[in-house]
Subunit: 208 residues, 2 copies
DNA sequence: CAATAGTTGGACTATATAGTCCATGTCTCC
DNA sequence: GGAGACATGGACTATATAGTCCAACTATTG
């Protein structure tokens, strides 16, 4: 966990932890759909069925809540990606990973974008701490992609000279850029296209 | 111009047009730096040295102002890109284009991201009209990239079968994703890396 | 030079929203 | 089982912000 999750020094009963989790869950969902700025504390209260004092009991204020949401969403995304990428060691596996993300986004016609990416866009310029956490999360996600590429390398699919980390950065950017274009067009096609191009580039190196 | 710029039917004197432009200019700058949601009308008033009634004389409300900002920023970006890309017909030219964008972003250590991209992220899920405009702007920008690739094709640098439009989409996504990663990391390196990867892929097709 | 339409200044209002407070209820641990 | 800490409910406040109103001013046009 990044920030104080088990309230600095305070005891925290199972009941309290549950309430806290309910708040963060509701806030994360709302902020994904409505955006961070337009999600009010009253929205969060209504959605989680919790009173204001409880919210302020568990969080110092909205900023702290936003940070908790970043932590929570980050954990969820990284967990999902770890499951999806942790053992992939083929180009086909990467394509399946791509398909899953694209199809998932297609359910909303691209709306809302990447859970992490849209948080990053909304928060990065306003909260240095949250930005830093998001930056680490992206790096971690990228590390999972690097792992896949390294396994490809180990299996001889990619040459030893292939710049693994840079390829992972490029793939990550293709993903995030694709999300943004899809979100704006309300059509996942550009997202599929951009990831395809990145994967095609990676695949083209295997000939070398 | 997309939305009503010369107020539907109303006369508009040179003086009025100037005031209107001052408002949009100030709003665009503030919204780029502070974000759309956290920029208040009072901020815009203070920055442009204009009174509230003038703002409401020229715009129906904040939404209308945001749309005018989208139009204005869009025009500025497209103009800049038309100048930068309009006559490029070499890979080297594309690299110079990349350098200009990266260096420009480096001046702010990546902060604020792409003028169009960050607007898209903030506005797409809240204002269908603005989203549509932004989508068209991205398409237009991408069209400029397609133009470059087509010239490369005409000059025999790229093969006839090269999927121009998809490559342009991929390049655009690499750019936008790079912006987002740079904004989050406050370091332009990932932006440079991701565009490089897209350009390397395009270049690699010239061998085919 | 009127008459009309566009332009401006700034006080005023309504409301949404973050944040406070305190009384009461419920655990935990000795 | 009792003391003290944790947890909860909800009313209350302060304030920021979008939006209104109107009187006065300035340009344009017949």
């Amino acid at each position: 966990m990044t920030t104080a999750d088990s309230q600095n020094g305070k005891r925290l009963t199972a009941r309290g932890a549950k309430t806290r989790a309910r708040i963060v869950d509701a806030a994360a969902d709302l902020m994904y759909v409505k955006g961070v700025g337009t999600t009010t504390l009253d929205d969060v209260l209504a959605a989680s069925g919790v009173s204001k004092s409880q919210l302020y009991h568990h969080f110092e204020g909205k900023d702290a809540l936003v940070r908790a949401v970043v932590d929570h969403v980050g954990e969820r995304v990284i967990e999902r990606e770890r499951r999806a990428l942790g053992r992939v060691s083929t180009i086909r596996g990467l394509r399946r990973w791509r398909d899953a993300l694209v199809q998932n986004s297609a359910l909303q016609h691209g709306a809302y974008g990447c859970a992490l990416g849209s948080l990053a866009g909304e928060v990065s310029d306003h909260d240095a701490l949250a930005r830093h956490t998001l930056s680490r999360l992206f790096t971690e996600w990228q590390g999972l992609l690097s792992g896949v590429l390294r396994r490809l390398q180990d299996r001889g699919v990619l040459p030893a000279e292939a710049p693994i980390d840079q390829l992972a950065t490029g793939l990550m950017a293709a993903l995030q850029g694709g999300y943004l274009l899809a979100q704006t067009a309300r059509d996942v096609t550009p997202m599929a296209t951009s990831i395809d191009m990145a994967l095609a580039h990676i695949e083209s190196l295997s000939a070398g």
